[in-house]
Symmetry: C2
Subunit: 383 residues, 2 copies
Amino acid sequence: MSIQFSILHKSTENHARLGVIKTAHGDMQTPAFMPVATAAAMKGLTPAQVRATGSQCILNNTLHLMLRPGDERVALLGGAHNFMRWSGPILTDSGGFQAFSMAAIRDIDDDGVTFKSFVDGARVRVTPERSIQAQNNIGADIIMAFDDCPPSAGAETSTARVELAIERSARWLERCNKAHARKSDQALFGIVQGGTSLELRARSLELTQQVDLPGYAIGGVAVGESTQAICDVVQFTASKLPEHKPRYLMGVGYAHDIVMAVAAGVDMFDCVLPTRNGRNGLVFTKHGPIRLRNAIHVADSEPIEANCDCETCAGGFSRAYLRHLFMAGEMLGPTLASIHNIRFYQRLLLDIRRAIGCNAWSSLKEAWPCLAASPQGLDGDTQ
Amino acid sequence: MSIQFSILHKSTENHARLGVIKTAHGDMQTPAFMPVATAAAMKGLTPAQVRATGSQCILNNTLHLMLRPGDERVALLGGAHNFMRWSGPILTDSGGFQAFSMAAIRDIDDDGVTFKSFVDGARVRVTPERSIQAQNNIGADIIMAFDDCPPSAGAETSTARVELAIERSARWLERCNKAHARKSDQALFGIVQGGTSLELRARSLELTQQVDLPGYAIGGVAVGESTQAICDVVQFTASKLPEHKPRYLMGVGYAHDIVMAVAAGVDMFDCVLPTRNGRNGLVFTKHGPIRLRNAIHVADSEPIEANCDCETCAGGFSRAYLRHLFMAGEMLGPTLASIHNIRFYQRLLLDIRRAIGCNAWSSLKEAWPCLAASPQGLDGDTQ
């Protein structure tokens, strides 16, 4: 078995589950938040600093590593774990989302996608087989299916296009599973799409679960739709995924979205928010976000958040010093802010796991006033 | 007493001394290398990471902190030690060198210097009194005299101009000493100038030592002159400084210059080379520098330097991974390279102290083949 998922406790109050995912590189207590180390590096943080945030599993982006330094290169250097010196679990995305969102798509057909590399402009072809080959080379503990993910139905995308994507993704999922050469140590997850339409989600759920896999993900969520729409889709989709397999909500997100999704039965999350916002001087607290560059912090000797146990707050770095670092363009600013933000998420997840274990869900909103406000961040791009 | 300097052992082979400088923030074993945390931040490194390199004392640049966030602000936030969370000794320069080299000088007269701020373009006036006030505010353990430091005599600067600078600096030194309000916990060092002329150095030595201070520095060295000229000036000047006070060679430099200067009796060094070169992907080894971006490292699973005990090499980060970080523009590249480079200097200084203690000076050149080659770095700017 590539991974083993056990449910340790089910909330008596909602659909939340406390669990553990065992991988060849260690355990992940769920619900879990996975920060994003795009190009096999958490921006500005050493693996030791990431570990100290309490992060158990991290994400690498397959497309980035495929284009630079090349997935074969990563394999020759011992796989992502050895390459970046992260000894814990790693998850890779399939490259699909980034091929569709970051790269200039040149051609998409039933066989795969051709796009222009954002590294050197070269023409790159990715098929389900190629994505899985790359993920086999990178060697993460959990890998993702390569799917057709056009923008959500709406202004830019017709319902017919989303329907086509769902049917095509189902065919691609079978090809992914067939191409997957490391089933003994890498768990392939399928992805449910369908945008905000519960009908399309139902169809995607049905097709995706036709392939028996160690876990399933919910994709295409929090890409601009309303909080209510996110909630409707997540509750509907999570409830129809297999109970004894991990459920992963991709690219989400804000604290309140995570809490909602956990209550709906989701087990895994990833998001670039803590690092991307940290790099830009936006840091999270239980009482809402703080812009470190704001003049109000110029003489503030307090840490970002009282009682926070992160290396930044516990280390005594003041808001005034952090503001100084950002104003002076010092790299240490992004590093210290990202450390705090990742730890903020891990503290939230610790508390979420505590609340599930104690059947004390309502205590969460008392302890985390920021959950009442939305959005927690000012930067709407969560991918 | 602000600091206490003790000589523990004098080499039987040359003028090198093994010593210790006791400060209110801990001891510094000499000869010592002090890395530069310009704006109260070692670029890309947390204080814990700096400490792990074995660095005992670090440098802050007064001009940078005076302009941003302001020295009064640093004082209100508890001084540089508390501001940047560095509990060990700190040394500040006077701002003189940077006012002359980085800023657009608008006016210089017998009273001080007026220049344009590189932060906001504002007109800034620095006098000896203002520099010392700023350094008293910043609160370093060792502070430097504010001197008139035009470029070395030569194409741009007449001998008459250097003579004027020496006489003026002597008058300014008296004003610095008079203005110094924290003599009980901050040690003011005078600076000997004079370019490559031993005659002018002798005059400056005489004038500078008319003020009785806890230590003296040699300035204006390694600003473009030949290795032989550096050697002549350092040997001449060091030999004429008080034996029982620390001698500090400012802004130097390459490994071979440091070794030469230690043999001449110098105790303290600072240089931006390890961090500036590290940021640019140039790393030092006992066998010479390495450009991490070079294609030759693309598949190299070896660390920067075998047997190096720095966080980067001992952590198992390969040259191939470091090259990837630099090619991908990842902040972690500069961080890991700077950690190695600072530790490289501290390993050299450890070995220098060992060689003095064992009267085994010649063993140094065997252990450090890079000392034979010059220059060790490809980046000539050492300030």
